[in-house]
Symmetry: C2
DNA sequence: CGGCCAATAATGTCTATACATTATACCGGA
DNA sequence: TCCGGTATAATGTATAGACATTATTGGCCG
């Protein structure tokens, strides 16, 4: 039982040296023929390992010049935004979603974002409250394109909140999220049962599948009750 | 000039069908021998395409049972947190970092997080203000492990703020970020030149390289002046 | 001396083949 | 009917070679 395939061993070898800093950005990786001799294998095998490192962004491969360790440039982070029900449950609290209003309507003229979202069809407008135990956690205002997600018209939102429902039903390919801190206004404060002016975390998100807009949502989290936590792997490697 | 390599054409073919929804989660992908005939190529080429789709999380490959479209489960998002200098410049404003204090000290006993960060060495404690034009944008409190980043002792922080400096100097592999909304206290309000109680975006981040802690930072952004914007590709595919 | 062009060294792609591994399907016996 | 073992169909890994592509190097020629 070989613990690792050979090409994986080669890959993890260099992965380790790069991540540990032993190989600094700009350092040269041996060329394929050298690695063939080092590991006693064929060029395809070496190439597979280096291709993996390259597509992971750890090295850059140049013809004629050989491969070098890439300089860390992608300072992007994977922000895990779990389903609210799952997250609330993980904290040992009981999750509940209360639908405040539900309306099917055409996009408002003069609102280019709504028109772009609706496409040729109607919009489903939803407003609801997320509860953790009996306390309000967030207020959600959502628009869904019925042209993109016709099934949404029949969805039973008493069971799943719309976000969870969409996550499961529609594979999304792209999203834009805006996160901001705002002081809560009086009307919202009443709904969330907090003091007017208390800090709230505002999460604005629009979602696409391919080039078609699916939904846009604004969630207003009670500041003292909610943190966005992102556990991040910068690189899909071996760090647990 | 072949626009695309054959294995890339096969990959993008299925990529497109999956992302467009034409191939739903659970749908079967033709087995390698069928694809060989379809595209008139060898098995290695087909395999390369399918491996790419698999490692991108678009399909699942099972021995004996063939490959199927994966169900979208990784609802993670790539949150782009650019360098503050870059971002401020992109908004057409002048960026400036003002170092308020700089201290080298051992970890405080009774603070396990500081002890874990410091390892065997000392801590570099930094506090500073980020300005956009002449207005304060954020207050930063940072601890850096000098055991992990000894060069940091000599860094010229007048040029680069510590975050940018570290980004460029140290490849990180993992980070944990906590984002929250808080009401600003009186002392901080004076530094940021805002009203006490105004909503601020708090970004707490710890960074690792391999298993070694590098730095932890808390940035407090002026709510009305700053949004975190995340432009997201759920899958490193072809959506622009 | 400067600019262009050919040789070269590296990666990129592809083929045909071989054997390993593994989950499933099928079949026979209790 | 259920249980277990074996055949099989699929992917996983690897080889050796061929040709394509491309950036650099160095030399030739004006």
């Amino acid at each position: 039982m070989t613990a690792l395939a050979l090409h994986e061993r080669i890959r993890t070898d260099f992965e380790g040296r790069i991540l540990s800093g032993a190989l600094q950005p700009g350092a040269r990786i041996p060329v394929e023929h050298e690695l063939m001799q080092l590991y006693g294998c064929s060029r395809m095998t070496v190439s597979k390992a280096l291709s993996a490192l390259s597509s992971a962004g750890l090295i850059e491969r140049n013809k004629r010049a050989g491969s070098v360790v890439a300089r860390p440039k992608v300072h992007s982070m994977i922000l895990d935004v779990p389903d609210l029900p799952v997250e609330v449950a993980a904290r040992g609290q009981a999750y509940r979603f209360q639908l405040l209003s539900r309306k099917v309507r055409p996009p408002v003229r003069g609102r280019p974002d709504e028109i772009a979202l609706a496409g040729a069809g109607q919009l489903l407008e939803l407003r609801g409250l997320h509860f953790a135990d009996t306390l309000p956690l967030a207020l959600e205002d959502r628009l869904v394109s019925l042209a993109a997600v016709p099934q949404m018209g029949d969805a039973d939102l008493a069971v799943d909140p719309p976000g969870s429902w969409l996550l499961r039903a529609v594979p999304w390919t792209e999203a834009e999220t805006k996160i901001a801190a705002v002081n809560c206004d009086a009307k919202t404060a009443r709904l969330l049962q907090i003091t007017p002016g208390a800090a709230c975390l505002s999460v604005d998100r629009s979602t696409w599948r391919a080039h078609e807009r699916i939904t846009s949502v604004r969630q207003l989290f009670v500041g003292i009750a909610y943190d966005l936590v992102a556990r991040i792997g910068h690189y899909g490697g071996s760090v647990p």
